[in-house]
């Protein structure tokens, strides 16, 4: 294993790391089964894991269930201990004090995204979970994509609907130790909802579900990518190494920026990858060039790119240095449109970039 001493963390970082680890050790662990729709098997996978853990001797307790379960889940439930939920009219909430008194190793909570009945000590179930974790009880729970605040906009773009409640951005990022995606074909889960009568509407519904399913997989992939990165970093490896695409579009005042930027955005979206745009400062730009450049950079920001203005005597060196820092996997670059001396200079740069970008794809855009 390579250990680069220049990557060694500072004492302050170490201390923060230790404190975080101590807090983590006292706290229970949170594991989340993430799915894209009701009825794809999250509950089964979670409860079945609970059963296996119990049979291995872990102290596992069910604290919240869904109102209706298919046969295969009903077969598991009798093999698990259940702490009954509190009932307030129609709605149920976790009996937090009872769970803390019982203090199991693991609490199974089917359905994380619930509001508690008015008057409950905690307004939201995720706060109950937080409390259990603080008490040192590990929690395994299930959640649907559309209830994550982080993904609300994206889900709304697909379904046209906005979920009534949500799990705040910070909760999963800081609390969840592990996320498992529960995957199943869209067609099977369709049967659970109201099935529209005509074929076109049914296909449209199925198409939406497929897109949600894809989103769930890609979200899980990017969570995993971050885990990989932090694992490598904690082992003294700085260079990003996952399978995530990181795209860098190089703009100049003269490049055909719009096409490259849009294509960069699409590529980054498709892979849930990262999208950078860089410009290397050049001396003595004309008024006109400055205006075009500004336009290009504005457009890049509008498309959500992370824009970097680089400086350096040598444009190619500056770009490559930046690319290696960020672990760029693809560089987009344009042919120059301008004739004359500048053009020769630019095509030299393109040549050198192609030659030196070892380990990175170079995509040369026509104009």
């Amino acid at each position: 294993m390579v250990n680069d001493s220049s990557q060694r963390p500072s004492p302050e970082q170490l201390l923060a790391q230790i404190q975080l680890e101590e807090r983590r050790e006292r706290r229970g662990k949170l594991k989340v089964f993430l799915g894209y729709a009701a009825g794809i098997g999250k509950s089964f996978q979670m409860l079945d894991e609970g059963r296996r853990r119990r049979e291995r001797g872990e102290d596992v307790v069910v604290c919240a269930t869904q109102p209706q379960y298919p046969a295969e889940i009903q077969a598991i439930l009798p093999r698990l201990e259940v702490i009954p939920a509190l009932k307030t009219g129609e709605s149920e909430s976790i009996d937090v004090p009872a769970v803390i008194r019982r203090h199991p190793q693991v609490a199974l909570i089917d359905g994380l995204a619930y509001d508690n009945p008015t008057g409950s000590p905690n307004a939201y179930r995720w706060r109950d979970v937080e409390q259990l974790l603080e008490a040192g009880i590990s929690v395994i729970t299930t959640v649907n994509l559309q209830y994550l605040e982080k993904l609300r906009d994206e889900v709304e773009r697909i379904t046209g609907k906005r979920a009534p409640y949500s799990i705040p951005r910070g909760f999963l990022d800081s609390s969840a130790d592990e996320i498992v995606v529960v995957d199943a074909p869209a067609i099977e889960s369709l049967l659970h909802g109201a099935t529209p009568a005509d074929r076109a509407a049914r296909l449209a519904e199925q198409h939406k579900l497929s897109r949600l399913r894809e989103l769930a997989l890609l979200v899980a992939a990017s969570v995993v990518d971050h885990q990989l990165e932090s694992y490598l970093r904690s082992h003294g490896v700085d260079q990003p190494w996952g399978v995530q695409e990181r795209i860098l579009v190089c703009v100049t005042p003269r490049s055909n920026a719009a096409e490259m930027l849009e294509s960069g955005r699409r590529n980054a979206d498709r892979f849930q990858g990262e999208f950078y745009v860089a410009y290397v400062q050049q001396p003595a730009l004309s008024q006109e060039d400055r205006a075009i450049l500004q336009q290009n950079l504005d457009y890049a920001r509008k498309l959500g790119a992370q824009v970097e203005i680089l400086s350096g005597l040598d444009a190619v060196d500056a770009l490559l240095k930046f690319a290696h820092q960020k672990g760029i996997t693809q560089i987009f670059i344009g042919h120059s449109m301008r004739e004359g001396g500048w053009r020769r200079l630019w095509s030299n740069q393109v040549d050198r970039l192609i030659h030196s970008a070892e380990g990175i794809d170079v995509v040369v855009y026509p104009h």
């Binding site: 046969a71 995957d183 074909p185 449209a204 899980a220 885990q227 990989l228 190494w241 040369v364």
Partner: protein
Amino acid sequence: MSSSIHINRDEEQTYGQSGRSQLKVFLGYAAGVGKTYRMLEEAQQLKRQGKDIAVGYFEPHGRKDTIAKAAGLELIPRRIVAYRGGTFQEMDTTAILSRRPATCVVDELAHTNLPGSERSKRWEDVQVLLDAGIDVMTSMNIQHLESLNDQVFQITGIRVRETVPDWFVKSATEVVMVDATTGALLNRLKRGNIYAAEKAQRAMENFFKESNLTALRELALRQTAHELELREIASASEERRPQQEPCGAPPSSPKATIDRILIYVCADASTAMLIRRGRRMADYLGADCFAVSVIPLRDHSRLPKQDRDAIAKHLNFARNLHVETRILEGDDAAETIVDFARSNQITQILLSRRNHSSWSRLFGTDLILRIVKEAKDIRVIIVSERRRSNYAPAHK
């Protein structure tokens, strides 16, 4: 200037359903994530619904939970094969065909049959079952997918030999990801649920390194999303839906121009990687895809024999991945390629960073730069072999 020799055009590609039978692939990222368990669970559900289901092959690996899941399912006896003084068991495809269940469970799709078997690969046996109208549920790991062979090698340092061609997986009705956290997987390994103790220890030092597993897991998640997208693209173009605008959902990728991809085939070993990449790109874009090589005009022997052999091997590989192939004649490879690209409306040219064959070096000019210069109106992609960083397993 250059002439085109048309060789072995692929027979009409018949992706999608083979007959009416359904193929469902359970995709995992390592042994022990729970593919077989999940598959048997589904088989049990189908059985409860009264479906006619049988297990053609499953590999219990002595795992208690998995064996319990198979209880009550009909197992079709395996074929006993004598080979080099030992006896081995293989799936009995003939027996499955005569039993003819509606659905058959076949574990370990990437398995290579013993020499002397009727077909060399299990996926070919599965193809036979599908052709006979039997639905199949099967399992495989991400590292066995042909087009990801390079990426898996870069991640793990291990060159996987048993692969399943992408077009076969693409023909599946459904690909489902079977996920587990790497932590859970390593725990299973430590408890001895996956391999016996000694093998488990070796596994953890090699393939089952946490970093490897995490990267493979990410790869599997992305591949499943990719498979899903392919099916969406296919069904969208099949349906040619009347303009429905469901609740502000953006229209599904309107495709103005059809992309056409050219993969430049040369003798260099990196060409295999280039072909895999080109195939994946074409799948994403729904694009046409050509693998094209250039040989010297008239006197082919000016190209050294080992180069000609390597090119022939690469073209053959391209055909196996269902990429159309062409051999062009010309003394200037860059010009020949660009001419071909223009007259065939190619929109993207894929080149490997390492494209030198001893012959093209004769020109003394850099082929990549010449193509980039000539093909001003075409996107040119110079593909690198993704390097493993300095973080690498101690040995392979």
